[in-house]
């Protein structure tokens, strides 16, 4: 139950004629079923926008996005939500402060008319490594890592096959990040999800992803395999600079650096 993703000439333009502003000039990439694909780049490079286009949270784009060969625009809302789900960056902002975990997890089940709700909610919590008793907690009674687990449980409860992860660990401590990354790895092994992971941390990409795209000013400058990071095999100057900066920051001196 995993899907392929094909993004072709995705672009966003405001206005028309000579004054038109292209905020996302042209993005194309494809992700194989079951792959973990990373999107990296500096802030404002359009990585999160791509995820928002894929999930139709932003719908004024041109081009094609195909999930398993089907255009995401043609997919009815209900089917789309069953196929893809998103996990947002900040678990402090993405959970409603006045809603209990039970309310948060129950809502998608009610919308989609799924039965066996109690069992599904329990299973979702167990899947993300939280005790079932957490169903009756509110977000302020949870730590940052626990909140992000709830956000992941909410994404999992509709049994999607594609998870869009928008900087899922950048608001968390390294120790908690490790727990969430391990959880995501394990879920992928168990369920064969396709992941699209937006991050600015190349160490996370190296740990999680098979391939990744380096974005700059709304364009994909280069698509690289994970192995290209350690020795900085990028050929585009910006991708090289980004990888070199990450390596320097980690204190790793690449053996073949020509920078």
């Amino acid at each position: 139950m995993s899907v392929s993703v094909d993004v072709r000439n995705l672009s966003i333009t405001f206005g028309a004629g000579p004054t038109a502003v292209k905020v996302l000039p042209d993005v194309s990439f494809s992700v194989k079923p079951g792959e973990c694909f990373g999107l990296v780049g500096e802030s404002g490079s359009g990585k999160s926008t791509v995820l928002r286009c894929l999930s139709m949270l932003t719908d004024f784009w041109q081009g094609d996005i195909l999930l398993d060969g089907q255009s995401v625009r043609q997919l009815p809302l209900i089917a789309r939500c069953r196929m893809l789900q998103m996990v947002f960056q900040d678990p402090y902002g993405s959970l409603h402060p006045r809603q209990s975990v039970r309310t948060v997890l129950h809502e998608p089940l009610a919308i989609h008319g799924l039965d066996d709700r109690e069992a599904r909610m329990r299973r979702a919590l167990t899947d993300v490594g939280l005790p079932v008793s957490f169903l009756d907690r509110f977000p302020h009674q949870l730590s940052g890592g626990q909140r992000q687990r709830i956000a992941i449980a909410r994404a999992l409860i509709l049994e999607p096959s594609l998870l869009l992860l928008d900087e899922p660990t950048s608001a968390l401590d390294v120790s908690v990040q490790a727990e969430i990354l391990n959880l995501l790895q394990r879920l992928r092994e168990e369920r064969g999800f396709t992941y699209l992971l937006v991050t600015h941390d190349l160490a996370v990409v190296d740990h999680m992803c098979d391939r990744f795209a380096v974005m700059q000013r709304g364009e994909v400058t280069e698509i690289l395999p994970r192995e290209a990071i350690a020795d900085n095999h990028a050929s585009h100057p910006y991708a090289r600079e980004l990888i070199a900066a990450s390596l320097a920051y980690e204190g790793v001196r690449p053996a073949t650096a020509r920078a």
């Binding site: 727990e179 990354l181 160490a203 190296d206 600079e241 920051y249 980690e250 204190g251």
Partner: protein, 277 residues
């Protein structure tokens, strides 16, 4: 050389809290770069703010809290005003929130100088422009007249550094100075800060959750856990840390070129809470 800062048994309790957020930490700081690392909630930022007495309502107590020739312990708020920003200053995390959005960048930088020195506006402007140039802002005249929303995050953080170093303090506390910045910009900003701190012989306390940052930009590191210092190390020896908490933090970090095994997860021992380094 005598230390710039001596802290002994510092305790901080927030108003209405039932326990201390910082539970008796001690350290001294010379003309060096000291890193304080720990997870969120470990009390590292509270320590930085307590030194500047930026914690309204909180109770700060210490057996000794000495900054150069001043005993911070007995200082009134009025006396503190002549220390804060002049001899000891703080660089905050996110320039988006720490710059006043409706005032020109340059005026905000010059304000520090006007406040602490008896100079004319034009002299303060000159100093501010020179300082903006020192943090490698290419066109200081233009940036001086801009508003915070017109400059990028990296430039904003350089403006913050300029503002904090303008009065030529002896101690700078940097609270997560680069965690809001992109990795490519982060190194430039850190290099600028590092260069200025070395050049002027300023003591630096770098508060961060990022072990890579303190490893590369500090001389010595304090590791904090639950309001206490569990281990003090020289930054070069970080990999040889002995405390299981420090080792756990290091192991939890994904590394470029590392094995793709599941990452080590911290197994928090209750007795860490009572340990003291």
């Amino acid at each position: 050389m005598s230390p710039i800062l001596e802290v002994e048994n510092l305790k901080v309790r927030y108003a209405g809290a039932t326990s201390d957020a910082v539970r008796g930490i001690s350290f001294t700081l010379g003309r060096e770069r000291l890193g304080i690392v720990g997870e969120s909630g470990s009390g590292k930022s509270t320590v930085g703010r307590a030194l500047l007495k930026l914690l309204p309502g909180a109770t700060i107590s210490a057996d000794r809290l000495r900054f150069e020739d001043i005993d911070l312990n007995g200082l009134s708020e009025r006396q503190m005003l002549s220390v804060r920003g002049r001899r000891m200053s703080m660089i905050l995390q996110d320039p988006k929130f720490s710059l006043n959005p409706i005032r020109r960048v340059g005026d905000q930088v010059a304000e520090t100088y006007l406040r602490h020195f008896d100079v004319s506006r034009s002299a303060a402007r000159e100093r501010a422009l020179a300082m903006l140039a020192a943090v490698k802002i290419r066109d200081p005249e233009r940036v001086y007249g801009q508003y915070p929303h017109e400059i990028s995050g990296g430039m904003g953080q350089r403006v913050m550094i300029a503002m904090m170093l303008l009065a030529d303090p002896d101690l700078v506390i940097a609270d997560e100075p680069t965690s809001a910045l992109d990795v490519t910009v982060r190194l430039q900003v850190l290099d600028i800060l590092d260069g200025l701190v070395r050049e002027r012989g300023i003591g630096l306390i770098m508060i961060s959750h990022d072990l890579n940052l303190v490893r590369n930009f500090c001389d010595r590191v304090l590791i904090m856990y639950a309001g206490r210092v569990v281990e003090t190390l020289s930054a070069a020896d970080l990999d040889h840390a002995e405390h299981p908490y420090t080792r756990g933090l290091l192991a939890a970090q994904p590394r470029i070129g590392g094995p793709r095994r599941p990452l080590a997860v911290l197994d928090r021992k209750p007795d860490w809470l009572e340990e003291k380094a």
